[in-house]
Symmetry: D3
Subunit: 303 residues, 6 copies
């Protein structure tokens, strides 16, 4: 391999290192250190170890030593959060306003720690919901080990707790890590009740202002999305409630799309592949408009 | 960063370490060590090396030394399986019945090893099926290196062999690892014939009791799912045949959903986005019921 | 664990190491070393560091030292490419034609380096497009850190540049790595204009001969696919233009499928879940054919 | 690179894999798994973390959470030891006698755990001894972080406790790991009192039956060795007391050699480079026999 | 493996976690984070890359890109030092005096960067000295790659520069890392002139207040040590000049010991195994006092 | 942390990147890639696995699969050597003479492979020699796992075989890696017979032209060195035989120095700390010249 000529390399590097006008808008503050994706993964591993002790740490599941492991995990959760929240604030703030960031980050991290028992309680309801709904489940432990829904909800309930505390950027990064693993995309701001379950899950999208009740079940490919945006006077889309409200005990089958600030009444069942843009009363059964018709393709092609 | 106060930390840890009633149901046996996701990944790497020698081990593909590498890989496959199957049984069994687990695990691992040549043969038919169907393929090796379908089928055919041997939990964990990588979710119990291919694949779901013939091809987003469950006298869903039977040489286009124990006759073509809940005779061509109509949105909104 | 008997192991290994007729077709050249997925991941990390300096390298984002880091990254990009492109050629070529591969690989790697500033410019337009369309975005940096669309386009614009230079295999491997991370599957040959954005993204498929204009936006599950193939005289599918042309400023909502060499006119809006197989004039608004009808399921089942 | 011819490779491998008569004597039991050097390194890291909390774990040294970290470390120490001691017994025993190994290993591991507080107390006396003797020491922490003597004694006092419990092989492996790091070679059986220190240390050798009192100090290159062996009737060297007894408060300067079962009386000082093979009364001052004489080399050479 | 009983584990952990009186003296400040041995190893790797570009970074030694690599390495050297020096001050200071530590650390790190060219110049003189003295050397590069003397001097000249800047703890940690690798123990405060070389090196000790001129050569096992200490009124050893002064062009053969504040005149040669405690005039040739005598051992033993 | 000013950083980097006259002499060829220490460590791990199957690879020591593991290890040994030997030649040669390096490297690597059985045979004699001489040995396996002598001889016998094949640089690098681990420094050119053993070993030095017979034993700190050099007409030291010849069955006790091309007759015993510079007849017993005298230190000091 012949090395690149110095001049060529220098020229390319200078061209790339020059800050264009477009880049100017996304320029970071001098000296800022970004939240670390790797650290957030470690953070989630500790949350997971606290919620499912004995499952994910490759050791025997002795309840005798659970207290010690939990104590260490909680301390790690706290100390990683302190650093990453502080980075998140530096990342998002205007130049200048730095004083007090560290104290604020510590305080939010401590408040998150107090949320952990509730996060654990909620995720355990999700495990139970999956186990009750899927005849392929042979025991609860199998649900924990191999259902993407549980991995997703562990992340979402954590990200949502951080979102409600006002932590910037980090909830979104945690949500995206779960999305990459599971193919399920839940905005951290979405409100989701207990005993929530998703089967298979790939392609599910749950938007920012969605509100979901208790004991709701979704299948793969379901979209709870926005229909359109309203724009403010400067032409920017406005961040208003624009995603559905799903009431208790609703089931939504695969690839259904529910769009806009509509309300799906409790105990409804939404069939697969339907497209809903208005309210549905409680107890409804919705399916595609017409029967599927068999037709020979006129042109004999594959479609 | 100020450390958390001892009392606060101790209180939180105790709250988290206490076993709630809900958690009781998923409690592990004392001393049990769970199947290790990391070890199962190593296991799959050895299976991959055996099925595609020279492709995945970063060395030259000398056929001269293939026998040695294969021997070592087979030994690793066997010894990892011995340990993980034993863990799987401990994980799933009732308290008490432990004697004989080790001998059973060894015996199942050995039987899996005898399945390897057939697994290899089947996956190679899948490579061939992909290569024949996709005009973008320039050579067979490219299919191995860059088609998620092949990664998926390598996992599925392995998981299915383990499932048929009665190995608990582990087939499901292997399937979920493939799901996370490819977005394709195939239950390990699903029966799939030779020369199977999936294009793109994201969002494909193939349920537990599905039966698929030879030379079937699917596109992304296809669901082969259950329509509904029957419940037993205790209100638990029953594990009966409830997913489709797809006969030989069927092609199913993107985002089609076929639900329930229906039969798609051989040589049929199912169009994209259709929703099928009853049998389809051999040689059928199915497409959406009506033509797509262009309409101006009344409200001029984005939808 | 009892070791496997020697004879059993030897027999299994020989059976597996024997080259079947099917395997013959995918046999690698003796001595060939395949392109390394791990090296291509390192390659993409350097591309990412060059496009988003300060974001992905866990250091402070000092602009003072940007030139040095860029220079080192460019050198790494070049030297990894030299090796991997050469491997790609060996992988794809007929037996025999090896002379000149190294010089050709170096020359293509150097030409790729000259494309880097344009790749950077294009990806920055994508960041801007996302930021302008999504009301949940609070700053540009958040888009870079947590939107799968950006990760995808970083890979696609890189893979596409390599594709246009005639580099074999490697563009496809890079595309598949992005697909696994994001659930978005874009063929490296697809042509995509500037200010492109995808929201959520899981399940999006963009085929090989697709042409997309500027400022186009897609939602999750959109398929820009082929309708059917034409076959050549030997029965192999022909690699002709068979995917859509999407003109400037088109928006396509979730799970829509546009199939075949059709043209979607500029400034059109395609609604969710529609299925389009013919041209659409500029400025169109397309939605599903009929209104969704609420029906009680006759059988009271879940669907 | 041309691959090796199959026959050549096979021949070499067979030649190497054949068990010669010499190798027969060191053959391992079928199925035995050896003690793992890597696991023993992890074990020592946990011992170190218990003895010097806050020093070696890269976290803040909060005493608030010390109890949790200690509990986890002790559990790890116990569980690693259970496995490794069992492997050690399998490694050393005659074919056949395997039953009960696991219970014995667990029991010894538990007894080792009860020794940990005393090991910690003793190593802290060594830290104090170093700090009091070396004028270059500025604080106690510096001794912990940068004196090889402390690293050595942490290993020795651990290895010695295991030796006294009758654990096979493992004490020797731990001792050798310290030897490689520090150049100090102490046999695990050597008995060493409290407040022990070694300065610099490279080349120090302390033999198997050595007995050392309290507050003894050694310099680099000191040998406390055997003079000769007695042989048993089969010509094998006998394992009798054959190394020195060093009483309290003795100082031995660099490169001195004390050989055989001799007694160095308390409060003696042994000068550098001397060679002692008989008893020395308490309070002695020993130095080289004659003064150093300056001489011109007769041949003008460098020596 | 049976888990340890909770009470037993708790009792042991409490016993270990209790701070004894002895431990009180080495207690760290609450919240202090210690200097990281791993980070200091990374630091030394960057120093090495700057001093020997092309040797240690596994890439081609293109001089074309040397400037970029050097710039990045210098930035890393600076930023690691900023953090570690600050930790070193926190580690060593009394409770309370923390303000200004960060600014001081940055300033010292910057001053160290200005010393790098001189460190590089000096280490290159050591390479030249080795190459000139050893007939087994075939080229300069071999000296860099395989002589422990060069590894040692790279560390010492770095540690010494930090020592002279008043950096606490860290010079000692760097020196000890070299000691563990090479068996050569040089105190960071020792002053050593240019063109210094050590052959083999194991067991060499060079004390804190040693002063060594230019073109000095040592062999293995040489001690430049203290003879005894003077104690202050509180009985603590005083940190006065107490190690030798070695003038220009002196050679000292293996295992020689030179002790106390004595002066070895320029151009002297000190023979192996001698013991010197007083001044030696320039141009001396010193060897052992008497000839070696052959004697039969009276007792016929091995010694 | 404030970033360094650009100008300051640029200035320092330029100063460091400038090639001084001294550096000119050790400049590498443009494009040369150096032998990799990490690869040579991997190489030695494979050699170790071949010599001691079952000991070092953390798997069960089943003789059933030994042939497979050996075959794979031999292939790895060969392929690593091919690359590293070629790098070694590029590193050492004059500019220009590159053609044929690759073929030469392959040929030497193949010849090394044929030496492996003899290397294994010799190292096993060393294991036996240690086991027979040390009463602390309880079984042969313990010698393999925990005696630095065996680690050293594994490296030396490998490095010596490469040296005799004319491989440049690499033998020296392997020898230095062993030196760092064991404190024993043996030049790869030294000739050593079978059944060789070293006890403890730290500080042992064996020079380039040393010749050692069979069944020789050394203790720690022994030097087999050169007395002085002869210089050629250009003032460079000449590479002539200048180290001792040690005949069969000689034992040399700790810290003895034998210097120059002298011959120690077979069956001799050399006592500790002696200094020998002339021939010793067979069967000799050599010890220090005079008895050790006890003296009070005149000044009451510590020496």
């Amino acid at each position: 391999m012949m090395p690149l000529p110095t001049d060529f390399l220098l020229g390319t590097a200078q061209s790339l290192a020059t800050v264009s006008e477009a880049e100017q808008r996304m320029l970071l503050r001098t000296g800022a250190v970004l939240p670390s994706p790797e650290e957030l993964q470690r953070f989630m591993q500790f949350v997971r170890a606290v919620v499912f002790p004995g499952f994910y740490d490759q050791r025997t599941s002795s309840s005798d030593t659970r207290l010690f492991h939990t104590g260490v995990a909680v301390e790690q959760i706290y100390s990683i959060l302190c650093r990453q929240i502080a980075r998140g604030f530096v990342f998002c703030r205007e130049q200048g306003a730095e004083s007090g960031i560290s104290a604020l980050a510590n305080s939010l991290a401590e408040r998150f720690v107090t949320e952990l028992p509730e996060i654990k309680r909620l995720v355990l309801t999700d495990v139970e919901a999956v186990a009750l709904r899927d005849p392929a489940v042979s025991n609860y432990g199998e649900v924990v080990l191999s259902y993407p829904c549980i991995m997703e909800m562990l992340h979402h309930r954590t990200a949502h707790a951080l979102y409600r505390l006002g932590v910037p950027v980090i909830p979104r990064m945690i949500a995206e890590q779960a999305h990459s693993l599971t193919g399920i995309d839940i905005h951290p701001a979405a409100q989701i009740g207990e005993y929530f379950s998703i089967d298979h899950g790939t392609g599910v999208v749950i938007g920012e202002t969605t509100v979901i009740g208790n004991r709701v079940m979704l299948y793969q490919g379901v979209t709870l999305g926005a229909k359109n945006f309203q724009y403010d006077s400067e032409g920017r889309p406005m961040d208003l409630p624009r995603h559905p409200v799903i009431e208790d005990r609703v089931t939504i089958y695969s690839n259904a799309s529910i769009l806009g600030r509509v309300r799906i009444g409790h105990d409804s069942v939404i069939g697969g592949n339907v497209w809903i843009t208005r309210d549905v009363p409680p107890g409804s059964r919705i399916t595609q408009s017409g029967p599927v018709v068999e037709r020979e393709f006129a042109d004999g092609s594959g479609i």
